[in-house]
Protein backbone atom coordinates (compact mmCIF):
# COMPACT_ATOMS: atom_id res chain seq x y z
CA UNK A 1 0.00 0.00 0.00
CA UNK A 2 1.17 3.48 -0.81
CA UNK A 3 -0.74 6.18 1.12
CA UNK A 4 -3.77 3.92 1.02
CA UNK A 5 -3.39 3.35 -2.72
CA UNK A 6 -2.85 -0.07 -4.31
CA UNK A 7 0.90 -0.57 -4.77
CA UNK A 8 0.67 -0.67 -8.57
CA UNK A 9 -1.15 2.69 -8.70
CA UNK A 10 1.52 4.35 -6.57
CA UNK A 11 4.24 2.73 -8.64
CA UNK A 12 2.77 3.72 -12.03
CA UNK A 13 1.90 7.32 -11.12
CA UNK A 14 5.06 7.90 -9.05
CA UNK A 15 7.17 6.22 -11.73
CA UNK A 16 5.67 8.43 -14.46
CA UNK A 17 6.44 11.63 -12.50
CA UNK A 18 9.98 10.41 -11.72
CA UNK A 19 10.54 9.48 -15.37
CA UNK A 20 9.47 12.94 -16.57
CA UNK A 21 11.78 14.64 -14.05
CA UNK A 22 14.72 12.41 -15.04
CA UNK A 23 14.17 13.07 -18.77
CA UNK A 24 13.88 16.84 -18.25
CA UNK A 25 16.99 16.83 -16.03
CA UNK A 26 18.92 14.93 -18.69
CA UNK A 27 17.73 17.55 -21.19
CA UNK A 28 19.17 20.22 -18.90
CA UNK A 29 22.56 18.51 -18.74
CA UNK A 30 22.67 17.91 -22.50
CA UNK A 31 21.66 21.47 -23.43
CA UNK A 32 24.49 23.31 -25.15
CA UNK A 33 24.57 26.93 -24.02
CA UNK A 34 26.79 28.03 -26.89
CA UNK A 35 24.13 27.85 -29.60
Amino acid sequence: MFFGLPFHTGLIVGGAVALVIVVLTLWGFSFGEAS
Binding site: L5, P6, T9, I12, V13, A16, V20, I21, E33
Partner: protein, 504 residues
Protein backbone atom coordinates in the same frame (compact mmCIF):
# COMPACT_ATOMS: atom_id res chain seq x y z
CA UNK B 1 -19.66 36.95 2.60
CA UNK B 2 -17.06 39.71 2.19
CA UNK B 3 -15.55 41.23 5.29
CA UNK B 4 -13.22 44.25 5.68
CA UNK B 5 -10.06 42.09 5.54
CA UNK B 6 -11.13 40.58 2.22
CA UNK B 7 -11.90 44.02 0.82
CA UNK B 8 -8.56 45.42 1.97
CA UNK B 9 -6.52 42.45 0.70
CA UNK B 10 -8.20 42.38 -2.71
CA UNK B 11 -8.04 46.18 -2.93
CA UNK B 12 -4.32 46.03 -2.13
CA UNK B 13 -3.83 43.31 -4.72
CA UNK B 14 -5.52 45.45 -7.39
CA UNK B 15 -3.41 48.47 -6.40
CA UNK B 16 -0.22 46.41 -6.83
CA UNK B 17 -1.35 45.30 -10.31
CA UNK B 18 -2.15 48.88 -11.36
CA UNK B 19 1.18 50.06 -9.90
CA UNK B 20 3.07 47.49 -11.99
CA UNK B 21 1.11 48.58 -15.07
CA UNK B 22 2.03 52.19 -14.45
CA UNK B 23 5.73 51.33 -13.96
CA UNK B 24 5.68 49.16 -17.10
CA UNK B 25 4.12 51.90 -19.22
CA UNK B 26 7.35 53.94 -18.90
CA UNK B 27 9.29 51.13 -20.55
CA UNK B 28 7.13 51.04 -23.70
CA UNK B 29 8.84 52.94 -26.51
CA UNK B 30 7.87 50.85 -29.55
CA UNK B 31 5.84 47.85 -30.70
CA UNK B 32 8.59 45.38 -29.82
CA UNK B 33 8.57 46.66 -26.23
CA UNK B 34 4.81 46.33 -26.11
CA UNK B 35 4.46 42.89 -27.71
CA UNK B 36 7.64 41.20 -26.46
CA UNK B 37 8.79 43.32 -23.50
CA UNK B 38 11.82 44.21 -25.63
CA UNK B 39 12.85 40.49 -25.56
CA UNK B 40 14.10 41.14 -22.06
CA UNK B 41 12.34 38.60 -19.84
CA UNK B 42 14.67 37.09 -17.25
CA UNK B 43 14.69 33.45 -16.17
CA UNK B 44 12.06 33.52 -13.44
CA UNK B 45 9.75 36.02 -15.13
CA UNK B 46 9.84 33.86 -18.28
CA UNK B 47 9.36 30.54 -16.45
CA UNK B 48 6.48 31.79 -14.29
CA UNK B 49 4.90 33.48 -17.33
CA UNK B 50 4.85 30.15 -19.20
CA UNK B 51 3.38 28.33 -16.19
CA UNK B 52 0.69 30.94 -15.55
CA UNK B 53 -0.25 31.27 -19.21
CA UNK B 54 -1.10 27.56 -19.17
CA UNK B 55 -2.67 27.58 -15.70
CA UNK B 56 -5.99 29.40 -15.67
CA UNK B 57 -8.57 29.89 -12.95
CA UNK B 58 -10.73 27.30 -14.59
CA UNK B 59 -7.78 24.92 -14.34
CA UNK B 60 -7.64 25.56 -10.62
CA UNK B 61 -11.35 24.95 -10.04
CA UNK B 62 -11.63 22.26 -12.73
CA UNK B 63 -8.65 20.22 -11.47
CA UNK B 64 -10.12 19.73 -8.00
CA UNK B 65 -13.54 19.16 -9.58
CA UNK B 66 -12.15 16.43 -11.83
CA UNK B 67 -10.40 14.89 -8.79
CA UNK B 68 -13.70 15.01 -6.90
CA UNK B 69 -15.69 13.28 -9.64
CA UNK B 70 -13.18 10.79 -11.07
CA UNK B 71 -10.52 10.03 -8.43
CA UNK B 72 -6.99 8.90 -9.27
CA UNK B 73 -7.57 7.94 -12.95
CA UNK B 74 -7.74 11.69 -13.63
CA UNK B 75 -4.31 12.33 -12.06
CA UNK B 76 -2.65 12.12 -15.50
CA UNK B 77 -3.98 15.60 -16.18
CA UNK B 78 -1.52 16.78 -13.51
CA UNK B 79 1.36 15.29 -15.47
CA UNK B 80 0.25 16.23 -19.00
CA UNK B 81 -0.62 19.88 -18.33
CA UNK B 82 2.65 20.80 -16.57
CA UNK B 83 4.46 18.85 -19.27
CA UNK B 84 2.93 21.15 -21.89
CA UNK B 85 5.05 24.01 -20.48
CA UNK B 86 8.22 21.91 -20.81
CA UNK B 87 7.18 20.64 -24.25
CA UNK B 88 6.60 24.21 -25.42
CA UNK B 89 10.03 25.35 -24.22
CA UNK B 90 12.01 22.39 -25.59
CA UNK B 91 10.25 21.45 -28.82
CA UNK B 92 9.17 24.93 -29.95
CA UNK B 93 11.04 27.40 -27.78
CA UNK B 94 14.71 26.61 -28.36
CA UNK B 95 14.54 27.05 -32.12
CA UNK B 96 11.92 29.78 -32.23
CA UNK B 97 13.70 32.01 -29.71
CA UNK B 98 17.00 31.73 -31.59
CA UNK B 99 15.53 32.24 -35.06
CA UNK B 100 13.10 34.87 -33.77
CA UNK B 101 15.91 36.96 -32.33
CA UNK B 102 17.95 36.70 -35.56
CA UNK B 103 15.07 37.49 -37.87
CA UNK B 104 13.08 39.87 -35.68
CA UNK B 105 9.90 37.81 -35.22
CA UNK B 106 7.21 39.49 -33.14
CA UNK B 107 4.69 36.63 -33.31
CA UNK B 108 4.57 32.95 -34.22
CA UNK B 109 2.76 34.02 -37.39
CA UNK B 110 6.00 35.80 -38.40
CA UNK B 111 7.74 32.44 -38.18
CA UNK B 112 5.08 30.61 -40.20
CA UNK B 113 5.08 33.33 -42.88
CA UNK B 114 8.90 33.26 -43.11
CA UNK B 115 9.42 29.49 -42.97
CA UNK B 116 6.64 28.66 -45.45
CA UNK B 117 7.20 31.77 -47.61
CA UNK B 118 3.52 32.67 -47.25
CA UNK B 119 3.48 36.24 -45.97
CA UNK B 120 -0.26 36.75 -46.35
CA UNK B 121 -2.37 33.56 -46.66
CA UNK B 122 -0.80 31.41 -43.95
CA UNK B 123 -0.19 34.40 -41.69
CA UNK B 124 -3.79 35.55 -42.07
CA UNK B 125 -5.28 32.07 -41.59
CA UNK B 126 -3.26 31.31 -38.49
CA UNK B 127 -3.82 34.77 -36.98
CA UNK B 128 -7.58 34.54 -37.56
CA UNK B 129 -7.91 31.07 -36.05
CA UNK B 130 -5.66 32.17 -33.16
CA UNK B 131 -7.85 35.21 -32.50
CA UNK B 132 -11.10 33.20 -32.58
CA UNK B 133 -9.76 30.51 -30.23
CA UNK B 134 -8.28 33.10 -27.86
CA UNK B 135 -11.56 35.05 -27.76
CA UNK B 136 -13.53 31.91 -26.86
CA UNK B 137 -11.00 31.18 -24.13
CA UNK B 138 -11.22 34.77 -22.97
CA UNK B 139 -15.01 34.61 -22.51
CA UNK B 140 -14.44 31.57 -20.29
CA UNK B 141 -11.82 33.42 -18.23
CA UNK B 142 -14.05 36.44 -17.67
CA UNK B 143 -16.92 34.16 -16.69
CA UNK B 144 -14.62 32.51 -14.12
CA UNK B 145 -13.50 35.88 -12.74
CA UNK B 146 -17.09 37.04 -12.30
CA UNK B 147 -18.00 33.76 -10.53
CA UNK B 148 -15.19 34.42 -8.01
CA UNK B 149 -16.08 38.09 -7.44
CA UNK B 150 -19.83 37.48 -7.20
CA UNK B 151 -19.22 34.68 -4.70
CA UNK B 152 -16.84 36.88 -2.67
CA UNK B 153 -18.68 40.16 -2.53
CA UNK B 154 -22.26 39.27 -3.40
CA UNK B 155 -22.21 42.00 -6.08
CA UNK B 156 -24.13 41.70 -9.36
CA UNK B 157 -22.48 39.63 -12.09
CA UNK B 158 -22.05 42.59 -14.47
CA UNK B 159 -20.49 44.81 -11.79
CA UNK B 160 -17.93 42.09 -11.04
CA UNK B 161 -17.11 41.80 -14.73
CA UNK B 162 -16.75 45.55 -15.24
CA UNK B 163 -14.42 45.94 -12.21
CA UNK B 164 -12.19 43.06 -13.28
CA UNK B 165 -12.32 44.11 -16.94
CA UNK B 166 -11.26 47.71 -16.25
CA UNK B 167 -8.32 46.69 -14.05
CA UNK B 168 -6.95 43.99 -16.36
CA UNK B 169 -7.51 46.03 -19.51
CA UNK B 170 -5.94 49.07 -17.83
CA UNK B 171 -2.61 47.52 -16.98
CA UNK B 172 -2.45 45.43 -20.17
CA UNK B 173 -3.11 48.42 -22.44
CA UNK B 174 -0.58 50.73 -20.79
CA UNK B 175 2.13 48.20 -20.00
CA UNK B 176 1.93 45.50 -22.72
CA UNK B 177 3.99 42.35 -22.07
CA UNK B 178 6.13 44.16 -19.48
CA UNK B 179 3.03 44.65 -17.34
CA UNK B 180 1.58 41.21 -18.15
CA UNK B 181 4.81 39.38 -17.31
CA UNK B 182 5.62 41.26 -14.10
CA UNK B 183 2.04 41.12 -12.79
CA UNK B 184 2.14 37.41 -13.64
CA UNK B 185 5.30 37.01 -11.54
CA UNK B 186 3.41 38.49 -8.58
CA UNK B 187 0.24 36.52 -9.36
CA UNK B 188 2.18 33.30 -9.97
CA UNK B 189 4.05 33.71 -6.69
CA UNK B 190 0.77 34.19 -4.80
CA UNK B 191 -0.77 31.19 -6.57
CA UNK B 192 2.15 28.82 -5.96
CA UNK B 193 2.83 29.79 -2.34
CA UNK B 194 -0.90 30.00 -1.56
CA UNK B 195 -1.68 26.50 -2.84
CA UNK B 196 1.45 25.00 -1.19
CA UNK B 197 0.27 26.54 2.07
CA UNK B 198 -3.47 25.87 1.92
CA UNK B 199 -3.98 22.50 0.21
CA UNK B 200 -2.31 20.50 3.03
CA UNK B 201 -4.88 21.96 5.48
CA UNK B 202 -7.74 20.54 3.38
CA UNK B 203 -6.05 17.14 3.05
CA UNK B 204 -5.33 16.99 6.81
CA UNK B 205 -8.84 18.09 7.74
CA UNK B 206 -10.20 15.26 5.58
CA UNK B 207 -8.17 12.72 7.58
CA UNK B 208 -4.93 12.58 5.58
CA UNK B 209 -4.16 11.07 2.18
CA UNK B 210 -4.27 7.41 3.31
CA UNK B 211 -7.71 7.84 4.85
CA UNK B 212 -8.97 9.81 1.82
CA UNK B 213 -7.82 7.04 -0.52
CA UNK B 214 -9.56 4.35 1.53
CA UNK B 215 -12.80 6.37 1.40
CA UNK B 216 -12.42 6.82 -2.38
CA UNK B 217 -11.87 3.07 -2.82
CA UNK B 218 -15.13 2.49 -0.91
CA UNK B 219 -17.07 4.72 -3.33
CA UNK B 220 -15.70 2.97 -6.42
CA UNK B 221 -12.67 0.62 -6.31
CA UNK B 222 -11.52 2.09 -9.63
CA UNK B 223 -11.13 5.53 -8.00
CA UNK B 224 -7.74 4.34 -6.68
CA UNK B 225 -6.62 2.69 -9.92
CA UNK B 226 -4.36 4.48 -12.43
CA UNK B 227 -7.14 4.41 -15.06
CA UNK B 228 -10.71 3.21 -15.57
CA UNK B 229 -11.35 -0.06 -17.44
CA UNK B 230 -12.37 0.17 -21.07
CA UNK B 231 -15.08 0.71 -22.27
CA UNK B 232 -16.30 3.46 -19.92
CA UNK B 233 -19.03 2.07 -17.63
CA UNK B 234 -20.21 5.43 -16.23
CA UNK B 235 -20.16 9.07 -17.20
CA UNK B 236 -17.37 9.84 -14.70
CA UNK B 237 -15.29 6.82 -15.81
CA UNK B 238 -14.15 8.25 -19.15
CA UNK B 239 -10.42 8.20 -18.28
CA UNK B 240 -9.80 4.84 -19.97
CA UNK B 241 -6.29 4.03 -21.28
CA UNK B 242 -7.15 4.94 -24.88
CA UNK B 243 -8.82 8.18 -23.81
CA UNK B 244 -5.83 9.10 -21.64
CA UNK B 245 -3.47 8.75 -24.63
CA UNK B 246 -5.54 11.21 -26.67
CA UNK B 247 -6.03 13.45 -23.63
CA UNK B 248 -2.26 13.47 -23.07
CA UNK B 249 -1.54 14.54 -26.65
CA UNK B 250 -4.28 17.17 -26.51
CA UNK B 251 -3.04 18.75 -23.30
CA UNK B 252 0.70 18.43 -23.81
CA UNK B 253 0.88 19.47 -27.47
CA UNK B 254 -2.36 21.47 -27.82
CA UNK B 255 -1.68 23.78 -24.88
CA UNK B 256 1.99 24.11 -25.86
CA UNK B 257 1.08 25.56 -29.25
CA UNK B 258 -1.71 27.82 -27.98
CA UNK B 259 -0.90 31.37 -29.19
CA UNK B 260 -0.90 32.89 -25.69
CA UNK B 261 1.58 30.25 -24.51
CA UNK B 262 3.98 29.76 -27.41
CA UNK B 263 4.47 33.48 -28.11
CA UNK B 264 6.17 33.79 -24.70
CA UNK B 265 9.27 31.97 -25.98
CA UNK B 266 10.04 34.90 -28.30
CA UNK B 267 10.28 37.24 -25.30
CA UNK B 268 12.96 35.30 -23.36
CA UNK B 269 16.14 37.32 -23.03
CA UNK B 270 18.66 34.47 -23.32
CA UNK B 271 18.66 30.99 -24.86
CA UNK B 272 20.43 29.52 -21.83
CA UNK B 273 17.18 29.80 -19.84
CA UNK B 274 15.91 26.83 -21.84
CA UNK B 275 18.44 24.60 -20.10
CA UNK B 276 16.67 24.35 -16.74
CA UNK B 277 13.32 26.11 -17.25
CA UNK B 278 11.64 22.89 -18.58
CA UNK B 279 12.31 20.85 -15.42
CA UNK B 280 11.64 23.78 -13.08
CA UNK B 281 8.37 24.68 -14.83
CA UNK B 282 7.25 21.04 -14.67
CA UNK B 283 8.30 20.54 -11.06
CA UNK B 284 6.68 23.70 -9.71
CA UNK B 285 3.50 23.36 -11.74
CA UNK B 286 3.08 19.63 -11.06
CA UNK B 287 3.58 20.11 -7.29
CA UNK B 288 0.89 22.80 -7.21
CA UNK B 289 -1.54 20.85 -9.40
CA UNK B 290 -1.10 17.56 -7.49
CA UNK B 291 -1.97 19.41 -4.29
CA UNK B 292 -5.04 20.99 -5.88
CA UNK B 293 -6.10 17.54 -7.09
CA UNK B 294 -5.65 16.13 -3.59
CA UNK B 295 -8.03 18.80 -2.26
CA UNK B 296 -10.62 17.43 -4.74
CA UNK B 297 -10.03 13.90 -3.37
CA UNK B 298 -10.26 15.25 0.19
CA UNK B 299 -13.53 17.05 -0.43
CA UNK B 300 -15.00 13.89 -1.99
CA UNK B 301 -14.08 11.98 1.17
CA UNK B 302 -15.62 14.69 3.36
CA UNK B 303 -18.83 14.65 1.30
CA UNK B 304 -19.05 10.83 1.32
CA UNK B 305 -18.65 10.85 5.10
CA UNK B 306 -21.44 13.43 5.42
CA UNK B 307 -19.14 16.11 6.89
CA UNK B 308 -19.47 18.53 3.99
CA UNK B 309 -22.20 19.32 1.47
CA UNK B 310 -21.47 20.88 -1.90
CA UNK B 311 -23.82 23.50 -3.41
CA UNK B 312 -26.78 21.93 -5.18
CA UNK B 313 -25.83 22.95 -8.72
CA UNK B 314 -25.18 21.00 -11.91
CA UNK B 315 -21.44 21.69 -11.70
CA UNK B 316 -21.20 21.07 -7.96
CA UNK B 317 -17.78 19.39 -8.33
CA UNK B 318 -16.27 22.71 -9.51
CA UNK B 319 -16.95 24.08 -6.01
CA UNK B 320 -14.80 21.35 -4.44
CA UNK B 321 -11.70 23.54 -4.01
CA UNK B 322 -13.68 26.52 -2.70
CA UNK B 323 -15.77 24.40 -0.31
CA UNK B 324 -12.73 22.47 0.89
CA UNK B 325 -10.79 25.61 1.80
CA UNK B 326 -13.89 27.16 3.40
CA UNK B 327 -14.29 24.06 5.56
CA UNK B 328 -10.61 23.68 6.50
CA UNK B 329 -9.86 27.35 7.07
CA UNK B 330 -12.45 29.28 8.99
CA UNK B 331 -9.88 32.05 9.58
CA UNK B 332 -11.02 35.19 7.75
CA UNK B 333 -7.54 36.45 6.80
CA UNK B 334 -6.58 33.12 5.23
CA UNK B 335 -9.91 33.00 3.48
CA UNK B 336 -9.25 36.41 1.93
CA UNK B 337 -5.83 35.21 0.82
CA UNK B 338 -7.51 32.26 -0.86
CA UNK B 339 -9.76 34.63 -2.79
CA UNK B 340 -6.68 36.44 -4.08
CA UNK B 341 -5.11 33.11 -5.14
CA UNK B 342 -8.11 32.20 -7.31
CA UNK B 343 -8.23 35.71 -8.79
CA UNK B 344 -4.48 35.58 -9.47
CA UNK B 345 -4.84 32.32 -11.39
CA UNK B 346 -7.65 33.65 -13.56
CA UNK B 347 -6.27 37.14 -14.16
CA UNK B 348 -2.78 35.97 -15.13
CA UNK B 349 -4.22 34.00 -18.08
CA UNK B 350 -6.76 36.66 -19.02
CA UNK B 351 -4.24 39.48 -19.49
CA UNK B 352 -1.95 37.28 -21.60
CA UNK B 353 -4.88 36.24 -23.81
CA UNK B 354 -5.97 39.86 -24.33
CA UNK B 355 -2.48 40.94 -25.28
CA UNK B 356 -2.19 37.98 -27.68
CA UNK B 357 -5.44 38.91 -29.43
CA UNK B 358 -4.36 42.57 -29.72
CA UNK B 359 -0.96 41.55 -31.06
CA UNK B 360 -2.24 39.12 -33.67
CA UNK B 361 -4.71 41.67 -34.94
CA UNK B 362 -2.38 44.70 -34.98
CA UNK B 363 0.85 43.04 -36.09
CA UNK B 364 -0.26 40.13 -38.26
CA UNK B 365 -3.48 41.36 -39.82
CA UNK B 366 -3.29 45.19 -39.76
CA UNK B 367 0.43 45.76 -40.21
CA UNK B 368 1.46 42.75 -42.31
CA UNK B 369 -1.62 42.26 -44.48
CA UNK B 370 -3.55 45.53 -44.77
CA UNK B 371 -1.06 48.35 -44.12
CA UNK B 372 2.57 47.23 -44.53
CA UNK B 373 3.64 50.90 -44.61
CA UNK B 374 2.03 51.69 -41.23
CA UNK B 375 4.48 53.46 -38.91
CA UNK B 376 5.40 51.81 -35.62
CA UNK B 377 3.38 54.28 -33.53
CA UNK B 378 0.24 53.51 -35.52
CA UNK B 379 0.71 49.73 -35.03
CA UNK B 380 1.21 50.28 -31.31
CA UNK B 381 -1.99 52.31 -31.13
CA UNK B 382 -3.97 49.72 -33.12
CA UNK B 383 -2.63 47.03 -30.81
CA UNK B 384 -3.89 48.90 -27.74
CA UNK B 385 -7.27 49.61 -29.35
CA UNK B 386 -7.57 45.92 -30.29
CA UNK B 387 -6.92 44.91 -26.67
CA UNK B 388 -9.70 47.26 -25.52
CA UNK B 389 -12.13 45.97 -28.16
CA UNK B 390 -11.27 42.34 -27.35
CA UNK B 391 -11.86 43.05 -23.66
CA UNK B 392 -15.13 44.88 -24.31
CA UNK B 393 -16.50 42.22 -26.66
CA UNK B 394 -15.61 39.28 -24.46
CA UNK B 395 -16.90 41.05 -21.33
CA UNK B 396 -20.19 41.62 -23.09
CA UNK B 397 -20.32 37.92 -24.06
CA UNK B 398 -19.38 36.89 -20.52
CA UNK B 399 -22.33 38.86 -19.09
CA UNK B 400 -24.57 36.49 -21.05
CA UNK B 401 -22.28 33.49 -21.53
CA UNK B 402 -23.18 31.23 -24.46
CA UNK B 403 -25.02 28.14 -23.15
CA UNK B 404 -22.39 25.83 -24.59
CA UNK B 405 -19.40 27.72 -23.18
CA UNK B 406 -17.65 24.67 -21.68
CA UNK B 407 -18.05 22.80 -24.97
CA UNK B 408 -16.76 25.82 -26.90
CA UNK B 409 -13.65 26.02 -24.70
CA UNK B 410 -12.87 22.33 -25.22
CA UNK B 411 -13.48 22.88 -28.94
CA UNK B 412 -11.05 25.80 -28.75
CA UNK B 413 -8.25 23.68 -27.27
CA UNK B 414 -9.00 20.93 -29.80
CA UNK B 415 -8.90 23.44 -32.67
CA UNK B 416 -5.54 24.80 -31.43
CA UNK B 417 -4.10 21.28 -31.50
CA UNK B 418 -5.63 20.49 -34.89
CA UNK B 419 -4.59 23.71 -36.65
CA UNK B 420 -1.28 24.80 -35.08
CA UNK B 421 0.54 21.64 -33.97
CA UNK B 422 1.29 20.07 -37.35
CA UNK B 423 2.35 23.24 -39.25
CA UNK B 424 4.63 24.22 -36.35
CA UNK B 425 6.17 20.79 -35.79
CA UNK B 426 6.54 20.03 -39.51
CA UNK B 427 7.82 23.55 -40.16
CA UNK B 428 10.52 23.29 -37.51
CA UNK B 429 11.66 19.72 -38.12
CA UNK B 430 10.81 18.58 -41.67
CA UNK B 431 12.50 20.26 -44.63
CA UNK B 432 9.97 18.69 -46.99
CA UNK B 433 7.02 20.55 -45.42
CA UNK B 434 5.70 23.14 -47.86
CA UNK B 435 3.54 26.27 -47.62
CA UNK B 436 0.65 24.59 -49.45
CA UNK B 437 1.03 21.62 -47.11
CA UNK B 438 0.79 23.95 -44.10
CA UNK B 439 -2.35 25.65 -45.45
CA UNK B 440 -3.95 22.27 -46.27
CA UNK B 441 -2.99 20.97 -42.84
CA UNK B 442 -4.58 23.94 -41.06
CA UNK B 443 -7.76 23.68 -43.16
CA UNK B 444 -8.08 19.90 -42.76
CA UNK B 445 -7.45 20.17 -39.01
CA UNK B 446 -10.06 22.88 -38.59
CA UNK B 447 -12.73 21.04 -40.58
CA UNK B 448 -12.01 17.68 -38.91
CA UNK B 449 -12.03 19.25 -35.41
CA UNK B 450 -15.42 20.82 -36.11
CA UNK B 451 -16.90 17.60 -37.53
CA UNK B 452 -15.55 15.22 -34.86
CA UNK B 453 -16.20 17.70 -32.03
CA UNK B 454 -19.80 18.04 -33.14
CA UNK B 455 -20.15 14.28 -33.60
CA UNK B 456 -18.82 13.52 -30.10
CA UNK B 457 -21.07 16.10 -28.46
CA UNK B 458 -24.30 15.71 -30.38
CA UNK B 459 -24.31 12.35 -32.21
CA UNK B 460 -22.38 9.58 -30.43
CA UNK B 461 -19.46 9.63 -27.95
CA UNK B 462 -16.09 8.76 -29.48
CA UNK B 463 -13.65 6.37 -27.71
CA UNK B 464 -10.81 8.92 -27.74
CA UNK B 465 -10.78 12.72 -27.61
CA UNK B 466 -12.14 14.16 -30.86
CA UNK B 467 -9.04 16.28 -31.43
CA UNK B 468 -6.92 13.17 -32.05
CA UNK B 469 -8.85 12.44 -35.27
CA UNK B 470 -8.42 16.07 -36.32
CA UNK B 471 -4.69 15.91 -35.56
CA UNK B 472 -4.40 12.80 -37.74
CA UNK B 473 -6.30 14.54 -40.57
CA UNK B 474 -4.05 17.58 -40.24
CA UNK B 475 -0.87 15.44 -40.36
CA UNK B 476 -2.16 13.46 -43.33
CA UNK B 477 -2.96 16.65 -45.25
CA UNK B 478 0.48 18.08 -44.45
CA UNK B 479 2.37 14.99 -45.66
CA UNK B 480 0.25 14.39 -48.78
CA UNK B 481 0.18 17.98 -50.03
CA UNK B 482 3.84 18.61 -49.16
CA UNK B 483 4.92 15.56 -51.17
CA UNK B 484 2.89 16.78 -54.15
CA UNK B 485 4.13 20.38 -54.10
CA UNK B 486 7.51 22.05 -54.55
CA UNK B 487 9.69 22.51 -51.45
CA UNK B 488 10.36 25.93 -50.00
CA UNK B 489 13.64 27.59 -50.97
CA UNK B 490 16.88 26.33 -49.39
CA UNK B 491 17.47 29.86 -48.20
CA UNK B 492 14.17 29.92 -46.25
CA UNK B 493 14.86 26.46 -44.80
CA UNK B 494 18.42 27.34 -43.74
CA UNK B 495 17.60 30.73 -42.29
CA UNK B 496 14.79 29.23 -40.18
CA UNK B 497 17.09 26.39 -39.01
CA UNK B 498 14.72 23.75 -40.36
CA UNK B 499 15.76 20.15 -39.81
CA UNK B 500 15.60 17.10 -37.58
CA UNK B 501 17.39 18.66 -34.62
CA UNK B 502 16.58 20.92 -31.69
CA UNK B 503 19.93 22.64 -31.31
CA UNK B 504 22.08 23.03 -34.40
Amino acid sequence: MADPITFVLIGLYFVVLIGIGSWASKKIHNTEDYILAGRSLGFWVFTILIICSVCSGMTLLGVSGFGYSSGWPGIWEQIFVPLSASFCIIVFGVKLQAVGKERGYMTIQDYLADRFESPRVLRGLSALSGIVVSLIYLVGQYTAISIVLVWLFGIPHWVALVIAGIIITGYTVVGGLYAVSWTTLVQGGILILGVLFMAPFVVISAGGLSHINSVLAGVDPNFVEPWFPSPAYAEYAFATPEFLVSFGILLMVGLACAPHVINNVLAAKEARYFKWSPVIAFGVYAAVMFLVKFTGFGVRALVEEGTLVLPATVNAQDFAFISGVEYAMPNVALWALFAVIVLAAVMSTTDRLMLTVGTMFAWDIYRNIFRPSAPDKEVLLVSKVAVVIAAGGTLWLAINPPPMLAWLIWMGIGVMLATFAVPLLAGLYWRGATGQGAIASMGAGLIAATVFGYWHQFVAPLPVHFSLYALAASALAMVTVSLLTASNSQDALDSTRTGWFIQS
